[in-house]
Amino acid sequence: MLSIRNIDQGAIMKLNKILKNTFLIIIASLALSACATQTKTGQMQGDVYTGTDTVKYLASGVKDRVFFATNESVLTTAARETLRKQAAWLRKNSKITIVLEGHADERGTREYNLALGERRANSAKDYLMTYGISSDRISVLSYGKERPVDSGSNPLAWSKNRRSVTVKAN
């Protein structure tokens, strides 16, 4: 399972980007979460943060952020669930516009991380759009590794920092 994931990760990411095919995203994420369960530790699944320490709420039950695996911009099952709730809330509140702030952890070069943050925020944007939110209401802002929420130098802190945060813009 682990070896399959390693080989296919790059190819899956690229296809996902080119085709923007929702089914492929789901298949890839299933593969990821299936092998990641083997390394489940406290607030992380694989190396994706699953805790709620840093999470804020846009409305009751609507989390403001989703988390990513190292060097990844593929949405996890939990991330997709969060974004579906955000989409439902945005459909109900049609005047609200948002900024998706994409972030990376500190374990990467600054310039690559700026690009990675942008890619993560766009993963979230694409998913919201497939649930009916117009791109006019969404802007994207990458901070790379410039704005960590946790200043720790450990895997748990880094997992909290690999995120896309949905912020109300108006």
């Binding site: 690559y112 700026l114 994207v140 720790g152």
Partner: protein
């Protein structure tokens, strides 16, 4: 705002013979050359004049201290303790008693004198081969008194060049990002300083996040990333006038800027819809060209010194690796094949090497490889370090390093460091605040 172009009048004094001593720069600091830097002599009237203008009691000693510190920092020279000097500076400059200098094991000797002439600073210096008992270089400079530190740097450059056969890197500046505040809310400002940390100035106020400043070839302009109005865009700054402008009109984030070797273009990444590609913009006619066209992340571009090639960072193989291509974007070739991830490629000013950051098994390395990817050498390993920038002679790299925080997330700092191409002579570069993203200027005086 800040003056870079200041005219120096250089006079080559007649000198009598060829050099016999030479410094082998490929050997790093294993055997630094013992050198005596005699304080520059100064007559009482000149001393008083400079004391009045510059508030320095003995400007001759001050200049020689700059030379001494530069030589020591290079790792190639071992400046000897002045307490052991037997000869008075003024006499030594006329005719050194070579037996006295060889007694303290000096192989080379620098002497000189300072005069106050027509409101100007006149500095004369001589380089002597102690073992051969001969003068091997003599130069005189005339400039405005405020330039006294630069005189020290230029003397060092001349001595370095005479004894190593390569241009120096001392009359240069570093532009960097000054940092303060907690790690989660860092305040960042553009700052500029002399290569030795003196004359530090902040160029922005810290109201917006700024990153990755880089000099143009004449070191009068800087391109950098600013989050002004929360719109991350590449900017251009004229250091002397303080004028700033956005580079191009892109509907999204532009980042990772650098100048082309002739200074006429800026090369950078533009990110849109989750995809970053490399673009250039001509600063004269504003024409924008797309150089890469690939659904992966393409960033950190850097030109070869002849402008014919570009090295860059891409994850088109699945992970961050280093690639080169022709400057029109054709003939893309991956060159990094070692273990781990590779980023921040920078082409050396000599053209033969590419410096990079490497991440492998949780450690960060600064290294160099040839432009075909062969001959990879890792120079330094640390918890976190990245973003090397070359000295103008291609012998030294400056980069930044961040510390690991403790369990409470405390103890974070970011500092500039330098290391020789040989992997020896790693040094902390002093800055008044925390610092990152250094970029080395060209040699200002030649």
């Amino acid at each position: 705002m800040i003056r870079i172009l200041i005219l120096f009048l250089v006079v080559i004094l007649p000198t009598k013979s060829l050099a016999l001593i030479e410094v082998d720069i490929t050997r790093g600091n294993l055997n630094p050359l013992p050198i005596a830097v005699s304080p520059l002599s100064i007559d009482e009237k000149s001393r008083l004049n400079f004391n009045k203008i510059l508030n320095k009691k003995d400007i001759g000693s001050e200049i020689s201290l700059i030379v001494e510190k530069n030589l020591k920092t290079s790792g190639l020279f071992n400046p000897l303790n002045k307490d052991a000097f037997l000869q008075e500076p003024d006499i030594a400059n006329l005719k050194p008693r070579f037996e006295d200098w060889s007694l303290i094991k000096a192989q080379a000797l620098i002497t000189g004198k300072v005069n106050f002439v027509d409101e100007k600073l006149r500095v004369e210096f001589r380089l002597w081969d102690v073992l051969a008992g001969k003068e091997i270089m003599a130069l005189a400079f005339t400039t405005v008194p405020n330039n006294w530190r630069r005189v020290g740097h230029i003397i060092t450059d001349k001595v370095y060049e005479r004894l190593t056969g390569e241009k120096g890197y001392f009359d240069t500046r570093i532009i960097y990002v000054a940092e303060e505040g907690p790690k989660t809310r860092r305040i960042k400002k553009l700052a500029i300083m002399d290569q030795d940390g003196a004359n530090n100035k902040f160029l922005t106020l810290g109201n917006e996040l700024v990153l990755t400043p880089r000099f143009n070839p004449t070191s009068q302009m800087v391109t950098y990333l600013s989050y002004f109005r929360n719109l991350p865009r590449v900017y251009l700054l004229d250091i002397e006038t303080g004028m700033q402008e956005v580079v191009g009109d892109f509907p999204g984030m532009t980042f990772a800027p650098r100048f082309s070797p002739n200074g006429k273009k800026i090369i950078m990444s533009f990110a849109k819809d989750g995809n970053s590609d490399i673009y250039t913009m001509d600063l004269e006619n504003r024409i924008v060209e797309k150089i890469t066209n690939h659904p992966s992340i393409d960033t950190s571009p850097s030109y070869s010194p002849d402008g014919k090639y570009i090295c860059f960072n891409s994850d088109r193989s699945g992970y961050q690796q280093i690639y080169i291509m022709k400057s029109d974007g054709s003939n893309v070739k991956r060159i990094s094949f070692g273990r781990g991830l590779y980023g921040t490629p920078v082409w050396s000013p000599r053209g033969d090497l590419i410096a990079f950051t490497k991440l492998h098994k949780g450690k960060f390395y600064i290294g160099v490889m040839r432009t075909d990817g062969s001959g990879e050498r890792l120079l330094t390993e640390n918890f976190y370090q990245e973003a090397p920038s070359w000295s103008p002679n291609g012998r030294v790299l400056i980069f930044y390093r961040e510390t690991e925080t403790n369990d409470k997330g405390e103890g974070f700092s970011a500092k500039l460091w330098s290391i020789d191409l040989t992997g020896y002579n790693e040094r902390l570069v002093n800055t008044t605040t925390d610092a990152s993203d250094p970029s080395w200027s060209s040699l200002l005086s030649n």
